[in-house]
Symmetry: C2
Subunit: 233 residues, 2 copies
DNA sequence: CGCAGATGTGGCCACTGTCAACATGCCCGT
DNA sequence: ACGGGCATGTTGACAGTGGCCACATCTGCG
């Protein structure tokens, strides 16, 4: 390499990677690649390609990641937090005074946000779940894992369901297990839209299906306390 | 290659593939590979490996499949019919005299069969849906596609829901869209068990979750006609 | 100032999908 | 009956990949 090469890189990418940002740069590039290739974007991320994009020779990545899967896991983490934040952003804009309606709207909004993110960021969404297996390697890291779950769509969902009970909309004895039912429903919707036979549906049809499913949840999925409440509209 | 080589192959593998069974043999081998590697088995199927197993040189497959994806699509088809048959087999053993209970049990059994197959045959199940995109190439083959849908888990589900309406258990105005809600629910369960954060659950916990979700469906998912019916037990 | 450890490089291997050119054997029309 | 045509299978090559190895280089610390 001629003189000035590393300087050029340093200038164009803010400090030479020798300073420690190679790992982050690779993950960033990976996220970008996954996003470029819509669904099934995970298969499109190649270690060597990422290294090329970052301006580093192949093999350099092996100083920061054990193997390709570890890098994918990191990207998946980015995707998961992105999903969480997308849902949180939606929840933040709700602002409903009535407590019962607020809790019901929150649950619905989580579902909407979940599916919307899956459709908008298909690659990241699928990777976020496909790469979770790698996280299943460590058996006994209870505390940290607990925190991870708390700050995840699953945590948001659990809090919303608890709120529904507190507010008196959801019967306490219908609460256990409701999180899995709700989660499965929206996750199934997302997956069927992304890779199932439902992927050719138009936006309007998709929205209709999503709203129908979310209405079913609100209507008495886990068993509401009664029929005293009108539909959300 | 010395003389006798092709003869040997012909003898050892039951008639030379020149006779037209190469395509089927490749698909069979592919199914086996997918089954060997539990989940994510689709990534494990390599054209060259399959050719090797079948005892044929690489590239021979290109006389029967345009590319790897087409072969995967064929394997996916096998998986989809296997799923359909697994569900049908469960439905056949039901034999409930009461019409209402029969319809409700059928719906529940479809859900059970769906999830059970996904867990038992993870590779085939995931491939069956992951490779559906390839099927999305032809836009206007309406009649044949209709038949395909009819003879699929989706068709079975639709018939079960129609039966629930006929029998008076499900309100007719709650019928539209119910198929998507039900399907999403079981599909979501399957996917979360297979590749989501729920994959480390034990069989007992899984079954509990599945039964809870299916009970929620029976209890009034799409809106039953009333609370006159006791739980299935 | 100099050395050790972190970081990045180049070469190599096995493997894959895919294309192009070549060989082989079966079937059908004359 | 036979010979050519065509489907089928083979060989070889190319570009790409993940993953190891031994080597170079830079950095920070004693």
């Amino acid at each position: 390499m001629p003189v000035g090469w590393s300087t050029l890189v340093a200038v164009s990418t803010a400090r030479a990677y020798h300073h420690g940002n190679l790992r982050a740069a690779l993950v960033d590039a990976g996220v970008q690649v996954v996003r470029e290739h819509g669904a099934a974007g995970a298969d499109a991320v190649a270690l060597r390609d990422l290294a090329r994009r970052v301006g580093v020779s192949h093999n350099a990545a092996y100083r920061h990641f054990a193997d390709r899967e570890e890098l994918l896991g990191e990207i998946a983490g980015v995707g998961m937090t992105a999903l969480t934040e997308a849902i949180a952003a939606r929840l933040a804009t709700l602002g409903e005074p009535d407590a019962v309606r607020a809790a019901r709207l929150a649950l619905r909004e989580i579902g909407r946000g979940y599916v919307a993110f899956a459709l908008a960021d298909a690659g990241l969404f699928r990777l976020a779940f496909a790469a979770y297996p790698s996280l299943a390697g460590a058996p006994a890291m209870e505390p940290e894992l607990e925190a991870t779950v708390e700050a995840s769509p699953f945590g948001q969902l659990n809090r919303a369901l608890d709120a529904l009970v507190e507010v008196g909309y959801l019967a306490p004895d219908a609460r256990p297990g409701a999180e899995f039912t709700c989660w499965s429903l929206v996750h199934g919707l997302a997956m069927l839209f992304l890779e199932g036979p439902l992927q050719r549906l138009g936006p309007a049809e998709r929205e209709s299906i999503v709203e129908g499913a979310l209405a079913a949840i609100d209507r008495g999925f886990g068993g509401t306390t009664g029929g005293a409440w009108p539909p959300l509209g």
